[in-house]
């Protein structure tokens, strides 16, 4: 059993029953001709309504597997996954908006119609979908790029458009799978602040998966550190900073640095 080291105080920890995302005893195996891989073994994790839960872990610890389970894109071999009260796969699919690591924008659609795709597949007419997506572009400072094709946009811009598409899906839970991993470090830093502000403006329950400890702490209300495969929660850390945070002030704070040290130590410790 994993030792659940609670770093900060546990008084405001949400009880299980109000959790919007709850995984308990989740095990997931993959079989291949070379044998069986245990991706997750008895994982317990929960995110409360409106909470940003960061999940950080080494490469190949089953982070993406975890998101796909929550999203209803796959089923656990043991244990249960519940999202907004739904444990059935269809229910989880309907409650989650999943943002993959790559933007996956359709090259023949403009930024605006790419985002509006989320509404179109739900049966909205293209013109109505565009009309509903447009205000979001204005609000998030992307109005000038609404008509541009993805090939004309930088990596950071494409990622913003992909995020708006995720928001427009209109689901209570956002699942972000290493959303900035493909970006250079300067762009990534700018995107983290942008996302923090976007989430302050459009509050959702978020599960953010990343291998970047600082990103996990900067964006999350809580950070769960996973062990290498098979993934288990090594430690959960509360991040007691008001959101949205400003990057410069936050990362230079002594308390933030201490948390970062703690998370890194947990990552290293779990590797042995």
């Amino acid at each position: 059993m994993p030792t659940q080291l609670k770093a900060a105080d546990t008084e405001h920890r949400t009880p299980e029953e109000t959790a919007e995302v709850a995984l308990s005893g989740v095990t997931r195996r993959f079989s291949s001709p070379r044998g069986e891989t245990l991706a997750l073994a008895g994982l317990d994790l929960a995110a409360a309504h409106g909470e940003v839960l960061s999940v950080v872990g080494p490469s190949g610890c089953g982070k993406s597997t975890l998101l796909e389970l929550v999203a209803g894109l796959s089923e656990p071999d043991a244990g249960s996954v519940a999202v907004a009260g739904a444990t059935a796969r269809e229910g989880r699919l309907a409650a989650c908006a999943y943002m993959p690591q790559r933007d996956l924008l359709l090259p023949w659609r403009s930024a605006l119609t790419n985002a509006a795709l989320a509404l179109e597949v739900q049966g909205e007419r293209p013109a109505a979908a565009r009309a509903r997506a447009e205000p979001l572009f204005v609000r998030f400072g992307l109005a000038d790029f609404a008509r541009a094709l993805p090939a004309e946009l930088s990596g950071g811009m494409r990622q913003r458009v992909a995020f708006l598409r995720t928001l427009l899906a209109g689901r209570p839970v956002l699942l972000l799978d290493e959303p900035f991993a493909a970006l250079d470090s300067i762009t990534r830093a700018a995107m983290q602040e942008w996302l923090a502000e976007a989430l302050a403006a459009e509050p959702r329950t978020v599960v953010l998966v990343t291998h970047d400890v600082r990103e996990a702490l900067f964006l999350g209300d809580r950070v769960a550190v996973l062990s290498p495969r098979p993934g288990r929660v090594v430690v959960e850390l509360d991040v007691p900073f008001e959101r949205p945070r400003r990057r410069r002030e936050t990362v230079t704070d002594a308390a933030f640095a201490a948390l970062e040290e703690q998370a890194l130590a947990a990552l290293e410790g779990s590797g042995r």
Binding site: L93, A94, Y98, L117, R147, A148, E152, G156, A169, A201
Partner: protein, 292 residues
Amino acid sequence: MTATSPPSDGRATRGEPRGTAAESTPEAAARPHRPAARAGALRRAGPPVLLVAAGLVAWQGVASLPAVDDLTLASPLETRAALGRDLPLLADAALVTLLEVVLGLALAVAFGAVTAIAMHLVHPLRQAAYPVLVASQAIPVVVLAPLFVLAFDYGLAPKLAIVALICFFPVTVNLLDGLGSVEPELRKLMRSLGASRLSTLRRVELPASLPSLFSGLRVAATVSVIGAVFGEWAGADAGLGRLVLLANNQLQTPRVYAGVVLLTLMAVALFVLVGLAERIAVPWRRAGRSEA
């Protein structure tokens, strides 16, 4: 609340506003200049034109050798003369053949699209039909052509059947590959967004398969003319293929060459037309390339 600060990536793209105000739209900045594109087209046309010119000169040289029989090889000048002299005859025949080719291609695209989409959507059908599809390409059409004429009579039908049969394979296989080329991640995303199977087909897989479809169409366009000629050789009362066959029997070699030149031009013109259609239907491909 105005949610966020204006975007400021470290990396600047064309047209991305640096600082406060956006002066130009990204579209205006990103489109390539037209005159430059035209100069590029001219430069690309240069080498093939030179090669053809060199070929013509060599052809004329060989045909002018005293050892070369005029009945075996008509020179470019003789061919040109035949083209001018027999133009009404050739033009009438060319129209007949062109109709066979275009209708046959249309049939191939219609049947090919239905087949490819059905095979894409129904996995067992794909497994069952793929070997049959490959076999359809291995059929020696030359042998089939007379049978088609027996079955469908001398008119347009057997030619259409042959052209369609020849073009069916490249169209279907390329479209099927294109439909299957969509990355699994994208399918997952569509499922998560709540898209139905048909919605994914319509909004993602079909547009994504267009470049592949056009590759198939380019191959089909060039072989379609060959198909029409086979069809006419098996039995016809009009068309360029029939004209060439007759002229050959009558030892009118320059007319044979003139017919062959027209058939070649037809295939090349179709190929170019498919390319133009692709540029209109798949504009994002060029956008992607100019970025790279």
